[in-house]
Symmetry: C2
Amino acid sequence: MNIRFYNAKILKLKENRKFVIETGELWVKGDTICYIGDGTNGGRVFENQKEDIIIWDREIDVCGNLLMPGFKNAHTHTAMTFLRSYADDLPLQDWLFQQVFPREDQLTPEDVYYLDILGIMEYLTSGITSNFDMYFFPPQNAKASVDCGFRTVQTSGLNNFGGTVELLEENYHIVNEMSDLSSFIVGFHAEYTTSKELMEGVAKLAQKLKSPVFMHNAETKKEVDECKQRWGITPTQLTDGLGMYEYGGGGYHCVWFEEADFEIFKKRNLTAVTNPASNLKLASGIAQVKRFMDEGISLAIGTDGAASNNCLDMFREMFLTTGLAKVRESDASCVSADSVLYMATAGGAHAMGLDDCDRLEVGKKADLIMIDLQQPNMQPENNIVKNIVYSGSKQNVKMTMVNGRILYEDAKFAIGFEPAEIYRKANEIIGRMK
Amino acid sequence: MNIRFYNAKILKLKENRKFVIETGELWVKGDTICYIGDGTNGGRVFENQKEDIIIWDREIDVCGNLLMPGFKNAHTHTAMTFLRSYADDLPLQDWLFQQVFPREDQLTPEDVYYLDILGIMEYLTSGITSNFDMYFFPPQNAKASVDCGFRTVQTSGLNNFGGTVELLEENYHIVNEMSDLSSFIVGFHAEYTTSKELMEGVAKLAQKLKSPVFMHNAETKKEVDECKQRWGITPTQLTDGLGMYEYGGGGYHCVWFEEADFEIFKKRNLTAVTNPASNLKLASGIAQVKRFMDEGISLAIGTDGAASNNCLDMFREMFLTTGLAKVRESDASCVSADSVLYMATAGGAHAMGLDDCDRLEVGKKADLIMIDLQQPNMQPENNIVKNIVYSGSKQNVKMTMVNGRILYEDAKFAIGFEPAEIYRKANEIIGRMK
């Protein structure tokens, strides 16, 4: 499909990580952005020195609304949609061991496929164009994404209760080779659920595959305290000592960080993925986002799974990322809207190995969304970036395009599945377990 | 208008403050809910022992979605929409004295009228059916609401820089007598902006009018510290000592409360209105919501104005009310979804003197909303109340009805004003001040 967007405001990223808004046209050819400009050259682009006249499949009047890069959900467990509002209001470890794990044991690969699709639908309503997913059956998760046309980066949730390093390696290849829309980065669940032997195996595999490594890291104080009791060092120190980060990577949550952890994240160029709503709801704590920024450490934002959040909404996470930093530091000026929008788009893309989806620029993949500015929460237009970060909501997402395909537009899905059927499946799956 | 809703889930409030969901029909006759039941008596209701057969103006298939009471926004400055995303990222006192006050000085009553309408439009998109508003020109604010068909409770923002006790009394009568949709409760801005003489005048007036009194109370630590330096006691102690709460009332924000403040709020049956998003964004702090609940003190929830929030969204406030309490207390089980939904509906109605709008029940005013459950963020339906509080978003608001009139339905407004014209006005007003 070749799609011409005109009458658009276009959010572009400058080298200094500041956003600017230009007005004009943005053209998509196949899966790629092929032109951004004033549109005066009437459908003509130059490729490899040759002029190409594009035949449009669709021309979309953006009506002065905003085109911007899609959000990257840099940490989630998509198929956990089945536990949304099922086992709330419990501390993390009780919630995980008494409520979540026993029900996850009952999931079939087919269940996970449909629960993923439910999650993907919600991502699309929130302008999320790719997810960094850790869950059982990575090939099944990847298939759900690819079948919907959604972009996914899978990692492994390997731990003592499930998985092997061999299976991790197998999944790495299956998912990376499945589609342009799916990729895989080495990972495991967390230090507190994984033996040292398994972690050593993961580290060796990451070195062999030259892959970054991600895990849940310092989500709760209890996790860090117990790791220090076991090993005398923090999860970051332990995993770094095992040679885990030769090719980069990072951690999810990163709430209870200590000096040594910041040093290692700096030295290894790791990304801290913050998950503020989940950290509130499970009473885990408030991450030191300002400190990460001051140290120059890369940041990205994730929703975590629907069992702990409970919604998959990047607008809520963006507001919380800055709002919680402000109250934590008693400093209303810290963590600007621009920096949060960077984390939610380019920062996530960087963490997920999706540098070709990080911004609106010629040659980048067409993972982009249209934000409806003609809504009361986006008016007046004093500062559109601030409006998005501080006031934005799912209701503003008019369109979500992944890899050049419109998957969501004017509240309708175009993913090849009927919403009612997906809701029926989700209710049936959790109904079986009650 | 007589409107029949059928195929509905209906959220009802039990005596123990728990919500239950029934399926059936809800009928609205004029401005009042006249029937809730299974619909078997085909449009017949009994009034004063007489049978009345209702002729329907509209019959609405709710398609299994949820009817629930509208949200009550229990603290806001509606017309501050013009400063949305204009002067962010500053501490409260700098923000207020250097950015907000100088621009507010330039507002005309006509400006306020249109800026109010912009705010009311956003309320409707968030299922808010009434606001507790403190701003300049209360009669003008009330007129904007009444012209839109929206319900408003005004209070005074009287302080040393504007207003008199006489004007407050005049506004009390004008607004209370203007319409069924408008009422007025005595109030003033805050201890830190108001002389003791003025506060004494407010207290005397409240006693004369038998009115509750509301003010900003303990929003920042600086405010409380300075009050104690001036008077040796907290704002709550000072205002209580002036005889302010003979007829009840309460405070907005109530973040930096001390033992004596909790005691006075209990003794006087006052309401603490929490404003969590604004308290984050201005780095003011996190209110002790669990402590208020443990003490049995009434709670309500407000968005505050768009200059400090920046959106007027009760879904965000509800999630924050429980999420921030959980992380503050390190207790994921505290402040349940039911209790938060109570604060956002009946709690607010109680604070605002709108006990006839507090719940769905025969004889109550028809201030109600329809929540779209056929959206991915509302599925599966493990627990609809939790889904609303933890996952809900503006995108779920299919309809907002105030006083029996549908003002918002399927993303269209029916308030007698064109959205584009209101947006143009808002941009023009702030444009003049830049």
